[in-house]
Subunit: 443 residues, 2 copies
């Protein structure tokens, strides 16, 4: 960063340009985001056209849109023309329709139609991730002609390492890796080498589905087909890495009572941050008042032994934590495809046994502490410890079943995580506590 | 699955073999895991050698070790010999030393030394992820000779799509993609085409570091060098996808008071699950008793107005949820490299403003509800609502600063997430509550 600022400082643009050319596009994009508008524009204009386009494609969409307001529409048009098709779509998706129109006004009719078709794929669908720059081969080609074809057309393809064999109706017939082509004999036929048992995905599939496939099969690219099984595009692994992180971030947010957002934290406005947080807090706050109501109901009992109150936070806390342990394990397990709704009984049975061990360990230690060290009466110590065991069991069973239930109902399991479960448990823990207390203390 | 079981049922092995050959290796590995030991062994032995090795490399390490006990040591040895080097290391790492010895006893002295060197790289380091099967080129090669070299040696390389240019001391001089080679003229020199401003990583680097680089630069492979900058191996993107998920799982677990584990949930024993959960629950349970102690201190005040108790769960709950919202946003933001410790003041300032909006919204709604609807006395309604605002502010400031502080102290921010923060907040919320109550209700 300093190297850049100094050179701008001393108007040393030649050496700045030289320096920039040696940097990674991703780094330049990052520097620009930190520079003032004026300077980032200066840096951008010093870049050779190819590099400039690459740098642009490494900016996150929010900075892309911000930056595109700084440059002339013709400049912007030039960049957009040179972007890979998937980057082009990702960028245009974020722009107001009228600007998109301006940018595409000189674009060739046919490509414009294609772009509009792609812009219509639902967000987060396979269609919205794919690119059209792939190498297509014909069955009857020999290895030699295939290699020649790749060498001639490969330059502006997003990837040339997986090639797709299509018939004259663009139906996908086979997939073949560049490696298999290269290591084969010059005169072998593609039809003999290509993999006909390939995996493809439909344009409408959810991106999470796509990510699953990449994770499972270790592909570099995946062909995307339409309902007539015609090859419309491919998805490359580099985009999937981003999707995986997006999906994880979404889960992290949902599991912390946040409405998910794609905005980066530091880029988001105070208001939008607040808007993402209030709804869940409100729901949880209101449901938490049921807990209050329960206490209200036991006010008489409480008045007799205020000492009982002392343990409520500990019991609720333990319940919440034990519950979120189980829900997190299950939510994550399902996200990684290790757990499916059909495993519910296996899971519950596991959780019951685990909670017996965990619960009794905690209860024992807790009893020793409050009875022997803190010298509480025996029956109170007993009440608290018994409640603790029941709490842990309830917490783990509910914590593990709710997410699975959600999944079975086609809801997102992540929503059934910590905060919600904690709130549910708070109420149950109190009821248990007061019931146990009632019977043991004969109130 | 059914297709397989039926064919085993009817001893229809020819057609089973035919069916298996058409499946994806990753799928076969999954089927085998579900089959009985006897049947999975049967399936495995029906596979052609190459496919069998591939299937084996798609098994998770836990099933690999389980399965390797089913087959003869010679069979196992054959498979291990054919595994890619990184898969070989990943597998051998999990085995007891004596078994490793047995497997390697016929291995060539030189390779055995290499394997032992790799087994000594710390777990989760770049060294433990890399493979040695890469294409190395020489500067003075022409495109034609390079292509010839790749075609001859490419077959058993893990990737041929990024090639590495090394000098006679194996020092890494440049990196070049197969695409750049293919689209260039036959007689161009590699030295003119190769990228000399490349990014490499040291064997000792943490895998999280490695993942960051792949995410940022969209690489397919990354060269790994030793302290003398000699090329020792490469890391390919398919392994990084797994690392990313591992790292995310680790964070999910830490943020739910679980000690992270690589075991799959359904594979882990009751005891090991319990062991992962008890420590944190214990710590949190004990610290929660401070909250109890605080209540103890205010017993007098509580006895006077038990009504106050009714709102404790709601206040604590809101504090915990508001806190985990902020901590999760920050932890995630740091994991994605969007937030760095140097942003701490930006973050705190953001959180203060957000918490003012969120806090007062909640407080207002809460006041309306308990004063007008539930008809609590004015000063109690005021006490609760005021506490609510302060609670949210405390929650968001602490929730956002603790993870950043942890990171600054080179600790894992994820540990500073929900459960711990909730416990800290519980105490603070109570103190605030009773202090506010004391002054407003003049107790």
């Amino acid at each position: 960063m300093k190297e850049i600022l100094d050179r701008i400082e001393n108007k040393n643009f030649k050496s700045l340009q030289k320096y920039l050319i040696e940097q990674q596009p991703a780094d330049i994009a990052e520097y620009m985001k930190e520079l003032s508008d004026k300077n980032s524009l200066l840096v951008f204009r010093l870049l050779p056209k190819d590099l400039a386009t690459e740098v642009f494609s490494f900016m996150d969409v929010y900075y892309q849109t911000r930056f595109s307001e700084l440059i002339k529409i013709d400049e912007l048009r030039e960049i957009v023309d040179d972007l890979y098709f998937d980057d082009k779509i990702a960028f245009l998706e974020e722009l107001p329709a009228n600007l998109v129109k301006k940018i595409l006004q000189n674009t060739h009719e046919q490509e414009r139609r294609l772009i509009n078709q792609f812009l219509n794929y639902p967000e987060f669908s396979a269609g919205s991730l794919m690119t059209i720059e792939f190498v297509d081969l014909k069955k009857q080609m020999t290895v030699a002609t295939a290699i020649k074809h790749i060498r001639e057309t490969g330059y502006d393809k997003e990837t040339i390492y997986t090639c797709y064999v299509i018939d004259k109706f663009r139906k996908l017939e086979g997939v073949i890796s560049l490696r298999d082509i290269l290591v084969a004999d010059e005169d072998e036929k593609i039809s003999e080498l290509m993999e006909t048992e390939f995996i493809s995905i439909h344009t409408k599939e959810d991106q999470e589905e796509v990510a699953e496939i990449f994770k499972k099969y270790d592909f570099l690219a995946l062909p995307v087909v339409d309902s007539e099984n015609r090859l419309v595009g491919i998805i490359t692994v580099d985009d999937i890495v981003d999707v995986i992180e997006e999906e994880n971030t979404e889960d992290f947010h949902k599991m912390a009572a946040l409405q998910p957002t794609e905005e980066e934290y530091l880029d988001s406005s105070i208001l939008s941050l607040a808007r993402k947080r209030i709804p869940w807090l409100l729901i949880l706050m209101i449901s938490a008042t049921f807990t209050g109501a329960i206490m209200d109901g036991y006010e008489a009992l409480l008045q007799q032994i205020v000492a009982l109150m002392v343990f409520v936070p500990m019991l609720m806390g333990t319940g919440g934590n034990a519950g979120s342990q189980s829900s997190t394990l299950v939510v994550r397990g399902m996200a990684l495809g290790e757990i499916t709704p059909s495993d519910i009984f296996k899971v519950v049975w596991k959780e019951i046994r685990v909670s017996l061990i965990v619960g009794s360990t905690l209860a024992l230690l807790n009893f020793l502490r409050i009875y022997y060290i803190e010298k509480y009466p025996f029956n109170i110590s007993l009440t608290v410890s018994l409640t603790l065991i029941i709490t842990v069991i309830l917490a783990k069973v509910i914590g593990s079943t709710l997410p699975i239930g959600a999944k079975a109902l086609k809801m997102d399991p992540a929503v059934m995580a910590s905060p919600l479960i904690t709130t549910i448990l708070d109420a149950l823990v109190l009821i248990t506590y007061f019931t146990v207390a009632g019977s043991i203390l004969h109130l």
